[in-house]
Symmetry: C2
Subunit: 238 residues, 2 copies
């Protein structure tokens, strides 16, 4: 099998392969992990490792052992663990943005598009997601449990200047635009969307670990979607 380089694959039952580039801000990595086998292996295995033992417990040493490589080699791709997390989370946001574009395409009603958006942010894996070397469900779990750590740090302003949170901002901006279509007079569309995106993760996490903080039942992601959709619709309705 040849090396396809900087690509991600979506397979369809018909004989067609669509190649999608999921581009990450190049300052996040020292060397593009999509450009080599080791790089892709780092991404694949880091998702499995963080999903399994959590971000704080994960180290480049353990990751290197899992891959059969060395700490020093991983440091050639990512400056540190924090940058790796930012990379993974950015990848996730870009993937969601693609899913949103794809699944709202040719949907004329803004309300319908907003409903799709709420589903995309709360249960992305129900859309197409059989990617080559990225375990999308594990990545989703990581985002639910670890993504706030990407921006909740003292380096947030520097990281932001480097553009590390562009992917997140773009996704929120897309959905906020739909909100504006529905109600152009509402004053806080972006705040509403970022609240909904964070809530999608929180509610899913609470349902699993702190069930007294939500009525939503563990694993019932339809309920999360329903909750978010209802909130956003009521807020935007006049």
């Amino acid at each position: 099998m040849s090396d396809v380089g900087e690509t991600c694959h979506f397979n369809y039952s018909i004989n067609l392969i669509i190649l999608i580039q999921i581009r990450i801000n190049e300052h996040v990595y020292l060397k593009d992990p999509e450009s080599s086998k080791l790089g892709r292996s780092i991404v694949t295995h880091s998702i499995a490792l963080i999903d399994e033992i959590g971000f704080e417990q994960a180290t480049f040493k353990k990751l290197a052992e899992g891959i059969g490589s060395t700490e020093a080699s991983i440091y050639r791709y990512f400056e540190n663990k924090h940058k790796l997390l930012i990379y993974l989370v950015s990848w996730y946001w870009n993937w969601l943005e693609y899913q949103l574009m794809f699944s709202t395409n040719n949907v004329p009603s803004a309300e319908d598009r907003l409903k799709i958006a709420m589903k995309v942010i709360s249960q992305p894996h129900t859309f197409q997601s059989d990617l080559l070397h990225i375990d999308a469900e594990a990545l989703h779990r990581i985002v639910v449990g670890e993504s706030p750590k990407a921006y909740l740090s003292k380096e947030v302003d520097g990281d932001n200047k480097e553009g590390y949170f562009m992917s997140y901002k773009r996704l929120c901006a897309c959905i906020a635009d739909i909100c504006r279509e529905i109600n152009p007079t509402y004053a806080y569309p972006t705040a509403l969307v970022s609240t909904m995106v964070e809530s999608a993760h929180n509610q899913s996490f609470f349902a699993q670990h702190l069930p007294r903080l939500t009525e939503i039942k563990n694993g019932n992601e339809n309920e999360v979607t329903e909750f978010l959709t209802e909130v956003v619709m009521r807020v935007l309705k006049n």
Copy 2:
């Protein structure tokens, strides 16, 4: 000045001192920090330290240096840094609950009480807050920037079994009760409240560090309150 022991003080202009106990689940600490001078010093200085350099950069060693004590002494009060964070955050939730009780007392309208609750969660320092050794504003900043780290860990289930998140749950339950009074048929009052509480922090953080994720302007906490109040009212209105 005599040692007042396990107490917190609210001072009023009239000649009256009200003593309030802010009780934290006793498993969070090894030895009650309110029971000694050193303990209180640990709490006071840890708030200043975390506020200044952030939770990840803070260490017991740096804290000990700041106090003029030693790592080993701090370890007699808190098993580790994570437990200290849980202690501080729990203290904050208890304090908010007290503020909520106090400021909604004798307010007959549930809508009015909910509005007060939204203000309490988004700008707690506008209520009385001149405490003895706790810098409430710094603690609020810590909660905004670090509190999700208290539960976003692999130990969350164990910590929850120990009851470390009771304070948070109690506060949310109180506010959810007000929501049920306003609209007894709404299916997700607790989910709505936990979403609002987290959003209060997120929107404040975004306004300061990632302004493209919100319309709210940095420092304008009235806007956060307004945003939350509007959301919660529209969601609960029939």
